[in-house]
Symmetry: D2
Subunit: 294 residues, 4 copies
């Protein structure tokens, strides 16, 4: 297949390499010339604008920081909409708010183009290994169409429902994640203060009703899980500022829907306090630093 | 072994039956004559007071609603301390605050008696089936001593550390549980409002970083997990007022330790709002009713 | 002076009447023809577009629901920027985020135009009576320039600092307001539940360290303050959805600034819960309904 | 009148001096010999136990740290109940939970004694100046009886209702205080971050709907109110650990009453975080340190 890929950051770069490995023909565009030249070395064809990149392709992928960038790439001068043919599908793997995803789908439809939201989980490690999870918001037909392309980059390609539901799945999962991580940090710190060995406490929680990904795979207490950022000074992993972005999308979507998110809003403030303390680049599990001294 | 068991409620009753089945000799006491007569039918010997019950036994067990009841049973007139011999061990399986557990251990030590805290998880189902988890706070020696007795009533007998740490483990686990359940309720309700199929959302969460016992085994959204209270009108299970008791113990212990529990304190208020709404007897997963109309 | 006024809603309508009463010459524009004809009856001149309205005026005023409307009125086709002369000042009395206010000032400056933010407090009553408070973000020179115009509509014209600080003052004040009102609701409900006469409690609070505008002038407990919405079924006053808008602006500004607003974020969720319950149109003091049955 | 006064701490000491100045005959008791000798120098008669102190007096006053101390002073060996005559009134000015106050009243009634709760506001300054506010929970008859005694020590003697309502008034007022102070800290810090002059912001808030005792008389932002602890490094004033005690009483009373206190519980955690940071002895307005760097 001929694929245009726009957005060659920490995620987009390795995703393109996996598309190329799978035998796809990939035209790439990014504002960062270095990122483009890396992709070209891997076999991609450079394009000077989104408009140029999308000409003659079967499918377009975008992987961008926020909704405003997606809007620009699609609708600004020399954007995707100026070059794309009717009937083609755009797959946006950026994490953005569901309302914007629906709005972009509407703009695309006016041009006879299909827009599919397909945010990912799995991080840069999953992008490199080709083991991402894609949460796809699309009609059944569009889902069937995009699945083979996405399979080159991911292991789980989940159909979430109509357009926008991919984003809904992503932000709802990360809403739980942001809450449970802070909750585990709170309980591990309390336990330590009350005199229980943190390793013993984690062992009990992980075989009991408190067990969760944040306690088992990614425990924020230092030294309990070798592979977790907490065992290497909270470096790498999923940055606090990225968690803040996702909780912000969740609380914004909740505001629009007039739906309370009590714990999510409070968790957001906790990560915001971390960011205010200068820890925004640390892995989000460093939220435990709000509760205990090192 | 000869065991005295004081407190024959929903938990204590079936625990005594499992002790008897395992061949132990059990003397029982409770203020409720009916509960005593049920235990007697199962083979226990009735005692008119804790003082009488503990005479000549090898080990004493207590299973009571709150610390004040434990204090009365131990130290009031005709209480355990009046009848117990030096060298005997008291196992308290009530869920109480760690500070009280330590205080009771101190009072016991003054009498040459050992006090072990061993709160349980597993609920009335686990009590009946003999599959409880016991979280034991005791010296290594005392742990070795009580383990065979507890094995008659439970499947996992976990040594948490010194006296009081059994209670610490229990309240820290349930602190996480109270937070994650409300967090899952929040995210499931938000997802529903934003248009994703709740079953699809739960499926994604359960294979992703949001997964937790509250989403997998006990999802609060009705109809997703057959065995969960959410699929039977939030009846049975773990009552909201019991969760409130445990979160109260956690926030009280945190207050004493000058340790913040931001999310725990907020979760406590959410369950309190449920209780104020008259839903205190429902399973705690009914917290989702604060977020969505049925 | 010759004034263009764009936005003739519940606030803008009466503000125009006060400008006319003060002898100003006013050209008006609104998408709602009825609102325009009411202003025309009062003596204003109708204009078919912002572009037309601003031609030849000394000052331009805008009073619109949100930043997106201000952007459209200023920068869209037939907008203010197409018709305004260099050197003229735009006064925006909409409540919007400080960052947008600064961005609009930047766009205006590119055209040799001054943009001043001047959000108001005092509600529709103050707009009708000409007793609004204007919180003005402007250079000292611009403040001196706009003060006489604003004085026709308001009693207190406060200079808050440079552009954007008018909005900062507004959202910070309303952040406190949203928190204190919910706090007073919480304490009044707790007091009632614990058996104190609410009137006695309010009397004590109002002469003690708990006193605040929300307890004195606007107590949410029904029947204590005759003039307050709580004494007329929470009708009139400051709608919950408007409070939600302002708390949303505050928490968004805090998010951008990486500044935690723990209580503000939680208060926002409380009002959001009210709105979810269908009470978004009630006065915001109806937040007490989350705490007590009528 | 002949008064017994038990509890000669930072508050009780100066209160006794004012009783003596007003011509009362005062017998005092405290575990701290130095505090007793200071009172004796001022003219009081020392007593070796509460039992001895209360013999032959017209009224008994207690001013103690917490409910457990009141219980001991009243009901332990050599306590008040052993020495007090039928018909005498005990005035307890300690700040304790309303349920304990009612329980003590019940114990007193069994002995033909009247128990009145009369917690104070005004701090050590008010105690020294004799300008305390007493919040009195008592029957109308008892209130009339104790008012003249209290007038020697305070300026406002407020009748709150039946026994226990004095404590209810105190904790409800301080619940609002704890919330508004943190809310003002939050908004002042946000405003500073967003570029408004804190003095200007405080001026606007204090003439608008955000005004409250915490912004006007006791603004937590340093340098705005000369007489406030924020202008002297948060020393003196009302200690964070005392605020924590009162918020703890409020949240405990709310828990018993099954009444949610969302903001109060969160505010409590904020002060707890301060205390965990080692700032428990600072004035409670130092909560602003959680939001901004000095």
């Amino acid at each position: 297949m001929k694929v245009a890929f726009i957005g060659l950051g920490n995620m987009g770069g390795p995703m393109v390499r996996n598309l190329l490995k799978a035998g796809h023909d990939v035209a790439v565009h990014d504002l960062d010339a270095h990122a483009v030249s890396e992709a070209v070395k891997a076999g991609a064809a450079p394009a000077l604008s989104p408009k140029v990149a999308v000409q003659g392709v079967d499918v377009v992928m975008t992987m961008l920081p926020a909704a405003q960038h997606v809007r620009t790439v699609l609708a600004a001068d020399n954007g995707v909409f100026e070059g794309i043919a009717r009937g083609i599908t755009i797959i946006d793997s950026s994490t953005i708010d569901p309302a914007s995803a629906k709005a972009f789908a509407g703009l695309a439809a006016e041009r006879g183009v299909t827009f599919v939201d397909a945010p990912v989980s799995g991080g840069t490690g999953g992008a490199a290994a080709g083991t991402l999870t894609f949460m796809v918001g699309a009609s059944a037909e569009s889902y069937a169409h995009v699945k083979p392309v996405l399979s080159a980059m991911g292991k789980n390609i989940v159909h979430c429902g109509e357009t926008g539901t991919g984003q809904v799945a992503k932000i709802c999962n990360n809403l739980i994640l942001g809450i449970t991580m802070a909750g585990v940090a709170e309980a591990m710190s309390l336990g330590e203060r009350l005199g229980i060995d943190p390793a013993v406490l984690a062992g009990i929680v992980n075989t009991s009703t408190g067990r969760c990904w944040s306690s088992e795979a990614y425990n924020p207490f230092p030294g309990l899980v070798d592979a977790a950022p907490s065992s290497r000074g909270y470096t790498g992993g999923f940055g606090t500022d990225l968690m803040l972005k996702d909780l912000g999308l969740a609380s914004d979507a909740a505001k629009l829907a007039r739906q309370p998110v009590f714990l999510g809003a409070l968790a957001q403030q906790l990560y915001q306090a971390m960011s205010a303390n200068g820890d925004g680049k640390l892995d989000f599990s460093a939220v435990i630093k709000l509760y205990r001294k090192d």
